[in-house]
Amino acid sequence: MSKRDMLLEVGLEEMPARYVTSSVDQLAQKIEAWLESHGINYSEVNLFSTPRRLGVHVREMDEQQEDSFEEAKGPARKIAVTETGDWSKAAIGFSRGQGMAPEDIYFKEIKGVEYAHVKKYIKGQRTADLLPELESIITGLNFPKNMRWANEELRYIRPIKWLVAMFGQEIIPISITGVSSGTVTYGHRFLGGKIELTNPDDYESQLLSQYVLADSERRKQAILSQIEKLEEEMDWVITVEAELLEEVTNLVEYPTALYGRFEEEFLEIPEEVLITSMKEHQRYFPVKSKEGTLLPYFVTVRNGDHNHLETVAKGNEKVLRARLADAAFFYKEDQKMPIEKALVKLNSIVYHEEIGTLSEKISRVRNLTNQLTGMLQLNQESQKAADRAAEISKFDLVTQMVYEFPELQGFMGQKYALQKGESSLVAQAINEHYMPRNAEDATPESDAGASLAIADKLDTIVSFFSIGSTPTGSQDPYALRRQASGIIQILLKKAWNINFEETVDLAVSLIGGAGIAKRDTLEIKSDLISFFKLRIKHYLQEQGTSHDIIEAVLGGPIGAVPELIKRSNILEAYKRKEGFKSSIEALSRVANIAGKAETPGEINPDLFENEYERQLYNKYLASAAKVQGTIPAKTYFEELISLESFISNYFEHTMVMAEDRELRTNRLSQMAKLAAIIEGFAKVNAIIVK
């Protein structure tokens, strides 16, 4: 079959850099899905994207859609065939209606009735005739943020300027917001010109001749190799973060890396401030020496060629100088403010209208921190540091630097606290209490920082749950999920086996005491526990735990998080071992039958009828004594495994659901007591055994 290439390019006013890649991926996926659903074969799809264009090049597409068959259903056999065995009028009409003859009819049973069917052959259409459908694929793209322009109704990422739609040399007729498709594209905004394409295959090279590197991967590599060249020439180390590189790649069509410098005196400002200012505000790459010290240089990527680079560098230097002068001013001013004065200011800062001021939050967090450090029996030094850190944890929020660079909260707190004579432990805890700041971030190192971090996050989560502001679907404006996961990570990292339900109760009662709760306390608590269970579930899923085991360990209370995770790991590991099936089955049997006990009471050994009942009873007493309090998950599990033979013998010789009511109740009570021990480890009957 003859084949042609197809080229589709949507020319736009500059798209937001952060949406370029996902947009072109989406366009390509939708085109491929369309091609597949239409039975049009092709060999390969190439993507092109810049801030001003989304391009898709499909190679070797069939000129003709594949032929296909379609089955049509007609009348039932008794209507289709007359008494004499001839085709009825209805059957003849049906076949003709489908463009076929009665001889083509065959029968197929549907729900016990036979119906006449014909198989229609459908000849594939010319691909070129189908391609105008791509218009709705282009208009149907979903963007995170849409806009309208001029008099147009279409909501789109940015206004559409031109459309290239070619099937071989033929134009695919498409028209969107008054822009009609053609073969004309445009080069770089300043360096390039209009391009008349004759063939889809010329696209990339023609654009390159007009100063557009249309393949974003190649553009990225070009930037990287230019930066590497600078590193080599200047003896620098330039850390290129993937996220910034991606953004810069999608801010330019023709990248040229260049460097500028700033005054050495600015190096007195904390390094993180300088780096944030360069990266966040200017999208510059900071420069370090081989020894790792920050140097008074920056690297930026221009959208253009090598001409007049000095002018561009000079302009950028001027901008950075003004920004750093601001930062230096803030740094100097902030140092003049005593911590106590900053704390007074927090009195008048509303954290959330329904939750109260920051000062109020801090006093709750401090209280919770102290209860936590007490429960954890941290040493005196840590307890004291955690208390002070909690008290001043938010003082940097009223500094000018954090006002200007919110992402430096905590970090500036640590810097300033040290300068004001706080202990290094306190200063460290202030910074750490925001950790982990994101999914990749580490957890706090110090015990003081970790307990403060848990208290602060827990207070936030409980506060918002108390006023009914819980995350739903994609809506989580206060990042409560991330903070809950943060708490779990910290508990695991620290191996802190505090009882989770009790800790939540503490936080809830503090909020309740402050009169913030707008909902029933029990309801808040149960929502919170389900919410945290979901985060634990997520954690377990990420580490590849099977879903039935997750369900089993989360079937009861959370208890101590590290132990819960251990229980899940033990079960997961045991799953592959011999004996797993029989032990779980035995334990499950107890759990299942225990569910039938209406009002389990005390066990009366006088009612035992066989030795196995007694043996199981004695074993139960021993186990119950062993698993009391917090015991290591492994010991607990071994204890459960040791129950198996007793349980099997018991069931072999004992009928739990005895006729005699007294006997039955006694046996069910025994089952219930035993089940409580088993389910204290996990809901074993949720585990799937094959």
Partner: protein, 296 residues
Amino acid sequence: MNIQNMILTLQQHWSEQGCILMQAYDVEKGAGTMSPYTFLRAIGPEPWNVAYVEPSRRPADGRYGENPNRLYQHHQFQVIMKPSPDNIQELYLNSLTALGINPLEHDIRFVEDNWENPSLGCAGLGWEVWLDGMEITQFTYFQQVGGLECKPVSVEITYGIERLASYIQDKENVFDLEWTDGFTVRDIFGQPEYEHSKYTFETSDPDMLFNLFSIYEKEAHRQMEEGLVHPAYDYVLKCSHTFNILDARGAISVTERTGYIARCRNLARKIAKTFYEEREKLGFPILKQKEELNHE
């Protein structure tokens, strides 16, 4: 190029694109967007093309004339075109060329920047325009004004005059900028900068200002009831400026702040709606005029 010539050049350029050249509106305001020539005229179906210089007062940015980058009052050159023309980016870039900025010698980029002013019920999408890393212009397609969907969409171009001039004249200190031959920004604005800063932060009377806010607010509502949009809007602007002084003075607590912003937003929404209704009563006269012109 001195500031005066920059303004003349921009006026010439946008006048050639069919913009009405207006003068600054005579009530204090924080940004060119708040001029009735933008805020009100972006509402409704009538076409509107206009350019003007807007002195913009930001009490909180006052620095007694001592900071090289911050001003109590700076100047914006504001362009509004409704509906947004297809070639608006080119028109804008040509204005830079007219100012002597050759795109081939610089790095000019359109960097995403979405604009939102909740206190006016406004939202728009667009860019900040970077010239060698410096933000020189806000470029916005209005999507919503005063809580009303914009149909058609206006495009707003706001040049920061002093920013741009500091680049063109290569000055580190805004007060050293040349306004016209023999006159710097310091000569003209030095004393007012100092005095307005002192007034804002030291000598203003919060009690009087709180009173004024309530009086202005009441009057704005009263005039709206009468269907008198423009007098009402003047009082809305006065409310907004009074609030800005109080805020800069630190006289408004965070809790109260939310309340005041909500009051401004209510005014803005109500006035937007009233303006639309009054234009509708008049039969959207500019739209009609243009349609007649097109038929001829």
